[in-house]
């Protein structure tokens, strides 16, 4: 670790990031910073590159240009401090394994080669399952879990990583209201414990209640900062075009009443 820290005061620092598939830019000249200890939403229309942004930060997609630092160092050196919850649909849930087993996979990086998870690791995994309210389903086959339960298992797998920065790709997609509330409560608890939580989010209407920081994305960064400053009809129109009817709850209720 001889290199000097680059932007050590920031949980995530992205500069000039460009990603292209077959010469077509998917992300173009992305610059953004996320301070530590916030819960940040990445929002934008379909095809805005939200998932690609997370994947390129995590090295799953190779950027054409730009650099990323996590807590002052390149991602490669900070893997242990980063937790990841991929989209639920990214895996085959018919794989022959149990909920507790999936959660223990979160520990494989720390375990290193040749070591099998032991009793202590199992305990950690059970704790994580308890935090997401899935203790009863620990030994169930994962295909028997409902969509919401599968999402909770994925969240528990990230929790056992005990990371400082968490990336979640659409954790609230296709889950019921109970699960959504449970997930938000866990994420808020992480943020209150000083962790940074970055969520790809699809529901504009809940951004203001769930998050304190947001990035509006559409190939480029449209706006970024505290939700109170960034969540404006002007910014959302710039990202979504005419597609979005900005739902201001008070206004709507006022018109109905």
């Amino acid at each position: 670790m001889s290199q000097t820290l680059h932007e050590p005061g920031l949980a995530v620092h992205v500069e000039d990031l460009t990603v292209s598939y077959a010469a077509r830019p998917v992300l173009w000249d992305i610059d953004f910073d996320i301070p530590p200890g916030v819960m940040a939403a990445i929002v934008g229309p379909n095809g805005a590159g939200k998932s690609t942004l997370i994947k390129s930060i995590l090295g799953l997609v190779r950027p054409t240009a730009g650099h990323v630092t996590i807590l002052g160092r390149p991602y490669k050196d900070q893997r242990r401090r980063v937790g990841y919850v991929p989209q639920r649909s990214s895996v085959d849930w018919d794989f022959p394994t149990t909920a507790i087993d999936v959660v223990m996979m979160g520990l494989y990086g720390q375990l290193g080669w040749f070591r099998r998870p032991g009793a202590k690791d199992r305990e950690k995994a059970m704790d994580a399952l308890a935090r997401v309210g899935m203790l009863d389903s620990a030994s169930r086959q994962i295909s028997q879990l409902s969509g919401g339960q599968q999402q909770r298992v994925f969240l528990a797998r990230a929790l056992v990583q005990d990371a400082d920065v968490y990336f979640l790709d659409e954790p609230m997609a296709g889950v019921d209201a109970t699960t959504e509330r449970a997930i938000v409560a866990i994420l808020h608890a992480l943020r209150d414990a000083g962790k940074t939580v970055i969520v790809v989010h699809h529901d504009l209407q809940t951004v203001r209640t769930y998050f304190d920081w947001m990035i509006i994305l559409n190939i480029r960064v449209i706006a970024q900062g505290p939700v109170a400053q960034v969540y404006t009809s002007q910014n959302l129109h710039r990202a979504y075009g005419g597609q979005v009817a900005l739902l201001d709850r008070d206004k709507v209720l006022g018109e109905v009443g």
């Binding site: 995590l58 090295g59 799953l60 991929p86 794989f95 022959p96 996979m105």
Partner: protein, 377 residues
Amino acid sequence: MLTLLTDFTIQNVMIGAALLGIVSGVLGSFAVLRRQSLLGDTLSHAALPGICIGFMLAGTRDLPMLLAGALVTGALAALAMLALTRTTRLKTDAGLGIALSISFATGVVLLTHIQTTGSAGQGGLESFLFGQAAAILRSDLYLMGGIGALALAIVSAFWKEFKLVSFDPDYARTLGLPVLALDVAITTIIALAVVIGLQMVGVVLMAAMIVAPAVAARQWSNRLGTMVVLAAIFGMASGLFGALVSATARGLSTGPLIVLAASVIVLVSLAIAPGRGIVWEWLQHWKNRRSLPARRVLTTLYRLAAEHGDPAYPAEQSMLDAYHGTATASSLERLKSRGLISAVAHAPEFTPHWALTPSGIIEAETLLGRREAEPGI
């Protein structure tokens, strides 16, 4: 029977068949779970040109040389498939299909060339098409055993890494696992498993040995460890069965018999395995249909009780019949036997009346969604 088991050739065949079954069952599990079943087929067909080239280089039927050739051309075919899918718009299945047919055609051309030039000792080569178990020597077994032990050792050493890479490769990369290297390792040992079976089952049928035991084992187990062990057992059982039957009956060749035995295990497993089998699903469906009228009667009782503000409200049977437009006696009996309702008297009437029990109320509320369902119901 005992004399059979002590016969040296038959011993060789049986040991070889069991070895082949175990190794292909274990590695096949990973191939099937990674949706690479067709990869086994490509690897085995691509082995044929390698066998021929190995023969031409060695000048005789030297097994290590032939298998080394098979491994090399198998790997080349797999790489060609990767190159095709990465650089063109072809999908994996098309890439595998192309790699398979080109390499098998090359193999057949080389094979006929060797046969027509009439090199000495070429007699054994075409046996690699469908396998020739009786030609197996003790020294071949050592080679097969060595390769198999190596493959199994690699699987057990990298067990958790292989599991994670097969389940969720992206996540594995974020944990810092070298996913590409692990992919190459898994593919290589699947190729090793194929090579082991070439002499026994032949290039054409070897893919079945990769797929069949694994598919059957998946039906019976929900954990990777159990699945792999079961696949090894199924593979070994098919191997031993094929070896024994071909030894006792004249004119039946071992390799196809082994594959047929494995196929029977697959068919039986697809049909009757609990939780996943077809028959099991029919049974569930039938049970559901049978219990549907009873459920409707139960919820009617619940609504009546709610309407009257009395959890123990006694409902007259003929009233239930009238409401449902059919006799409810059998449904009521079923509910009673499950302890969800009880027969009660309602003086001065003498007709049968029914009331919900406390567990009946819970069940009805669950059915109506007024109660958080137990997970899985």
